[in-house]
């Protein structure tokens, strides 16, 4: 059972990475990041059950809280970008280099 959990988590993580690297819509990029975080959560919970220890589950909760906070900030930024009339496209938002 346990190896399948790890394989699923690895697959989810790879999908998330590809999503971040390939997709241009920041909302989808966010969803991909969430996917990677949840892949990690899955690993944590899987190991928790495998090692019969509750520490992994506690870490998973921590990750969920941090992810929620990060999404708040990220979506806030995106709404601001949308408000000032910019197209929501990560390739277009390259002012960071200045």
């Amino acid at each position: 059972m346990f190896p399948y959990i790890l394989l699923t988590a690895g697959f989810l993580f790879a999908v998330g990475v590809l999503g971040v690297l390939i997709r241009r819509n920041p909302l989808v990029v966010f969803m991909s990041i969430e996917l990677m975080l949840n892949a990690v959560n899955l690993v944590l919970v899987g190991y928790s059950s495998y090692l019969n220890s509750e520490e992994g589950q506690i870490f998973a909760f921590m990750v969920i809280v941090v992810a929620a906070a990060e999404v708040v900030v990220g979506l806030g930024l995106l709404t601001r970008v949308f408000r000032i009339g910019r197209e929501l496209d990560v390739d277009d938002l390259d002012e960071m280099q200045q």
Partner: protein
Amino acid sequence: MNPTVIAGLSATILLLPILGSALCGFLGVPLGRRFVNWVGTVSIGLAFAAVLVLLALLLHAPQGHQSSTVVLWNWLSLGAGSNLGVSVNVTVDALSVWMLLVITGVGFLIHVYSVGYMEHDPGVARFFSYMNFFIFAMALLVLAANMVILIIGWAGVALASYLLIGFWHDRRSAAVAARKAMITQVIGDVALVLAAFLIFVNLGTAPYCPPGAHCPAAAGGAQHLHTLNLPQIFAHASSLGPNSPTLTIICILIAIGAFAKSAQFPLHTWLPDAMEGPTPVSALIHAATMVTAGVYLIARFHPLFDLAPVAAGMVASVGMGTSIMAGFIALSQTDIKRVIAYSTMSQIGLMIFAVGIGAYAAGLYHLMIHAFFKALLFLAAGNVIHTMHDEQDIRQMGGLQARMRITAWSFLVGSLALGGFLFGGMFSKEDLLGFGTVNGPAAPALYIVGVAVNVLTGLYAFRLYGVTFTGEPRSDLARHAHEARRVMLIPVVILAALAAVAGWVLQWPVTIAGFRPAFVDAFLNPVFHTAVSGPIAHEPGAGLAGIGFVIGTGLSVIGIAVALRIWVRRDLDAPAWFRGPILGWLPRLSFHKLYIDELYDALLVRPGYALARVLRRTVEPEVMDGWVRGVTGVATDFSAGIRSVQTGLIRDYASIMVFFAVAFTVALIIAAGLVH
């Protein structure tokens, strides 16, 4: 003499002027002109009163106790066990009191005069602040019994001189003159500091047994003294032995310091330019006191000079050489203050000559008499300049005698004292020249130059008087000249009285009908006898002194008489002799000050500018900027390479992150595989 009283009086003499300087400087502008006039003069007057008390104490001190060195406080103390330290200590003896009398006495009269001279100047608070500071620094210089303190005073008077020459700093010529004076002074300061180092190494660290302590006879048992206190240095002076090369070098360095301060060749060019300052400044600093500090310095270091006859002979020769050179230049200058400035240089040359041949008391006697008549001449010239609305060219003057009677009479007294007939200079100048007959290198040689200087002195002194005060006025300003205010006349008259009387009552060079006052010798000579020193000047015999006096005064009178015929009665056209092609170069040489300024310009200033230009145009942009630009270039190129990675695209950053995360993971797996 009670050390506490001495310390208290010395501290008073030092504190009053510096207090006056601070009050005028900080409160003078808000509190106004009256406050400044009172504070600035009263501080010096009270200091003069304190000096008079010191003089009375000194005159009543028992024989052998006429020198007192007191420690005001320990300033620097380095290392508990050793004696290495600098204390602020002062020496009160006949020499320092003599100088203080001139500094505060003549200084007070000049301060009173300044009240009138500066009445229309908006910077009067600054002026009195600087003047009081000068008196403080000069008093510190003559009271100092430690070489460090002496150098502080020495530099302080140079600073005051710089500030006052450049007092009218919006005039470019004044600013340049101040800078020139400062640079020349600094050459002397450096020489003096080097002398202090050499003294510290060679004399200041001699084995020393403190009084009351038990020291074994072996040198190793004695403590080593690390000091720059002058009494201890002088006590050790003989440890180097006579004619020691070290001592000669020390004395030459001290002499260079003295030459820079006293405007002696080759460091003399700053003094005529210093006349850019207000006239009271010229009277106080550049005639009566600061420029004579070199004479004081050599007299103070006489235990060293007595043991270094080569250096002393050099001093005497330079002094006499400067004297005749300056007398020659003074003959053809046309600025009233510059003529007096060159005459100052010439007279100080005589004093330097006197201290160089060991006739210290005679040199200091002339110093005081010179302070009287030269301050008088400058202040009287100041009256003339004041009424002529700052015109200083004597060719624009003439006929002022009828318009400014008191000033003209005082100037005549000063000219006679300077020329050496009837008043002041006749006594002091012949006194020191008399010593020249039997002392100094190649004994009577410098004396013969000295009597030639007498002729020149008579000539230029009465040329100045004749051209300025007699004949017809040569400009409207001179026609409308009027006598100065009373506050400017009283100091002039007092100084005229001093110049006229001092010589008669203080000391004569010859015995006349069995009578000869010699108060100066009696007062000053103990200072120069008590040191462990070699020979000081031999007194010329009575007959020789008499002959010397007659010759010297006779030549002075000849100079004066010729000048009177040329420039007052105008029945002798001597200048015509020098208009021909054969002798025509002489007046030109004199008028252009022997071309020494031009020489320095060609030898020092222009090469300096040329070097600076080469450095500016070639070395700095090519060499210095070159390697700086190289270093910045490397950094710029490197960062330009790095910068291309930063595209601003989230995708690129994420790719790099993923790439390295994967690379790290793979490396970790390989490393883990290698371990197993």
